[in-house]
C-alpha cells in the first residue's frame, strides 16, 4: 500500500510547528479552557512525528500497519488535534469546537470520537502501557510498525510508568519509543521540587532502556533522534527531550499557571504575533 508521507524538510517542519502553535492558541482561546503550556512544549516533537517520521495514512486512520501514536499526557491534546487537522485527518473547522458539546474534540483524547487518535488517554500513567500492548502485538504478529508515546515529566511520578518501563525492557520491544516532554513544570509547581524525578536518564538506563537526550525544540535534533530510535534493536528507547513549557509565547514560558489556563483574546493576539515573528 502506498501511503502519503510528506517527509518535510527541517525548515518546513519549523514552519508547520509554528502553524500548529498558532492553532493551539486559537483553539484554547476559543474554548476558554485547555492546557496551553504542555501543548506548546510538545509541539515540535509532534510535528516531526506527523510530518516526517510516522508511517501513516490520513485517508485510512485505521490502517492496521500504521505507526501508532499515543499522547499519554492527554491534557496536551490541542497539539495532537492541531497536528491531525493540519495533516488532513479531519477538517480544520473542528478545531474551533474543542471541549464544546457534540464536538469530535474532547477535553482529553477519545479514540472513538477523533479520527487519527489511536488511544484514549487522560488519566496519567496509562498511555505508555497501552503503547507497550500495541508494540507487543506488533512483535507477536511480525508487523513492522513503530509505537510512539509522549509522556510528561510530572506524569513520570505515576508508579505505573515504572511498571511499563520494567516490562518493555523484559520483552525487548524495540518497536516502542517513549518521548519524555521534560518541561519541568506540573499542575502545581516545579517537577524538581514537588517530587523530583532526577536522575531521570540514569533511571531509564538502569531499567534497560536505550536513552537519548536532546533539545526538544531543535528540529534537527528531534528528527535525528526519532530516526535513530527506529534503528535501535533489542531494547526500547526513550528520548528525553528538554523542553520549555509554553514554548513560543513569552508570557507563558516556564510559568506553571499556564499549565491549564486559557488566554483571553488580547493575550491570544500577543501570543500569535510572537509565534509568527519567530517562525522561519
Amino acid at each position: 500500500m502506498e501511503t502519503p508521507r510528506p517527509s518535510m524538510s527541517i525548515e518546513e517542519l519549523k514552519q508547520m510547528a509554528a502553524t500548529i502553535r498558532c492553532d493551539i492558541i486559537e483553539m484554547i482561546c476559543t474554548a476558554k479552557a485547555g492546557h496551553p503550556g504542555g501543548s506548546l512544549s510538545a509541539a515540535d516533537i509532534v510535528t516531526a512525528l506527523y510530518f516526517r517520521i510516522m508511517n501513516i495514512d490520513p485517508r485510512n486512520p485505521e490502517w492496521p500497519d500504521r505507526d501508532r501514536f499515543i499522547l499519554s499526557k492527554g491534557h496536551a491534546c490541542p497539539v495532537w488535534y492541531a497536528a491531525l487537522a493540519e495533516r488532513g485527518y479531519f477538517d480544520k473547522s473542528h478545531l474551533g469546537t474543542l471541549r464544546q458539546i457534540n464536538s469530535i474534540l474532547q477535553g482529553h483524547p477519545d479514540m472513538h470520537k477523533t479520527p487519527g487518535v489511536d488511544m484514549t488517554a487522560g488519566s496519567l500513567g496509562q498511555g505508555m502501557s497501552a503503547g507497550l500492548g500495541m508494540a507487543l502485538s506488533g512483535k507477536m504478529r511480525k508487523k513492522d510498525y513503530h509505537v510512539w508515546v509522549i509522556i510528561g515529566d510530572g506524569e513520570m511520578q505515576e508508579g505505573a510508568v515504572w511498571e511499563s518501563a520494567m516490562s518493555a525492557a523484559k520483552w525487548k520491544v524495540d518497536n516502542l519509543t517513549y518521548i519524555l516532554d521534560r518541561n519541568h513544570l506540573q499542575n502545581d509547581y516545579c517537577v524538581d521540587t514537588e517530587m523530583p524525578i532526577e536522575p531521570v536518564a540514569d533511571k531509564w538506563r538502569a531499567f534497560g532502556w536505550h536513552v537519548m537526550e536532546i533539545d526538544g525544540h531543535n528540529m534537527k535534533e528531534i528528527v535525528e533522534a526519532l530516526e535513530t530510535a527506529k534503528t535501535v534493536k533489542g531494547q526500547p528507547t526513550i528520548i528525553i527531550a528538554e523542553t520549555v513549557k509554553g514554548k513560543g509565547v513569552s508570557y507563558m514560558e516556564n510559568v506553571a499557571e499556564w499549565h491549564g489556563k486559557a488566554p483571553c483574546e488580547e493575550e491570544a493576539e500577543i501570543a500569535l504575533k510572537e509565534i509568527r515573528e519567530c517562525a522561519p
Binding site: T120, S123, Q126, S129, G133, G138, S167
Partner: protein, 340 residues
Amino acid sequence: MSENKYHHVRPEVIPLLASGELFTSAERQATRYSYAEAILELGERNPDVVVLDADVSKSVGTNKFAEKFPDRSFNFGVAEQNMMAAAAGMATTGLIPYATTYAVFASMRALDQVRNSIHYPRLNVKIAASHGGITPGPDGPTHQGQEDLSLIRAIAHSTIVAGADSPTVKLATWAAAEWEGPVYLSFTRDPVPILFDLDYPFEIGKAVTIRDGTDATIIAIRDMVSQSLVAAERLAAEGVSVRVIDCHTLKPLDVETVLQAAEETGAIVTAESNIILGGLGSAVAEVLVENHPIPMKRIGMRNGFAESGPYLEIVKKYGMSAEHIADAVEEVIARRNQSR
C-alpha cells in the same frame, strides 16, 4: 422431591441437595481451574486470544496456556495496572486479551486502567478475576474480592459474568470471546459443587431458571447458586415451593426473567457473596422498585469485612448459608402475605 422441578441440574446432584450433602459429597472444583482449562481450549481455536498474567498464573492455572502458547502469553509480574492498560493497547490491534488476576487487584488496584483504558474506549479486553467474593476464605479480607461486582457494575459499558460452577465458567469464558467489548469474568478460589453440564444453555445476559417454584424466587450468582438450591430443598420440606434462578450475568441484568419471577412468585431473595451494596441485590432491587415492587431481601456480605477461615464456615458466620437464605425466603413470604 420430584426431579422434574429442576432444569439443567445434574441428576446425581439433586438427591444431595435434600440430604444436605451437597458440599461434602458432590464433585467439586474451584472455578478458576475451569477458566484455565477453557482458555487453553480457546487458544487452540482462536489465534487472536492472548493471556496476560500478573504473577498468579500458577494459582489460576494459566501457566498451562503459557507452556502451550509461549508467544501468546505475557506475565507482567506483580503489576496489574500495567497489565490492564497493556491489554487495552493489544485490543486496539485486534487481539483478544484475557487479563488474569485476582478480583481485588482487577477491580481495585487497576480500577483506573479498567475504567479509562478499557471501558471508556469499549476495548475488547476480557478481565479474568479469580478469588471472587469471600471464596478465598483462608486468605482473609485483603484477598476476598467482595466489592468487585459492585465496582465494575458502576462502570459504563461493563459486562459481568460469574458462573456458578466449573462447566458454566467454561461456557462463560468461551462466550466472552464472542462478545464484542469488555467482559469481566469472576471465578471462585475455593471449590464449589459442580451443578451443571456443558450442555447448559449459557448465553451472556440470559438468566436461567434452574428450579421451578411458585411461592418465592431466589436469584443467585456465582457460589451462592449452590447454597440457594439447598435452601430451596429445605423449604420444600416445609411445603414451600421456591424458584431458583442462576443469574450468571450480573450486567446486563436479565430484566425480563427477574420481572417474570416477581409477577409469578411475588417475593424475591437475592444471594451473592459480594457486599450487598451495589451488586446483584442492588441490581434486582432497582428493577423491582421501578417496575414491580414486591417484598425482597438481599443476602450477601453486610457492611463489613469477613476474616480468615474455611470458605464454608465464613459463608455461615457471615449470614450467607442455605439456612440464612431459607430464613430470608420465609421472611419475604410472610411480608407478602401480610400485605395481601
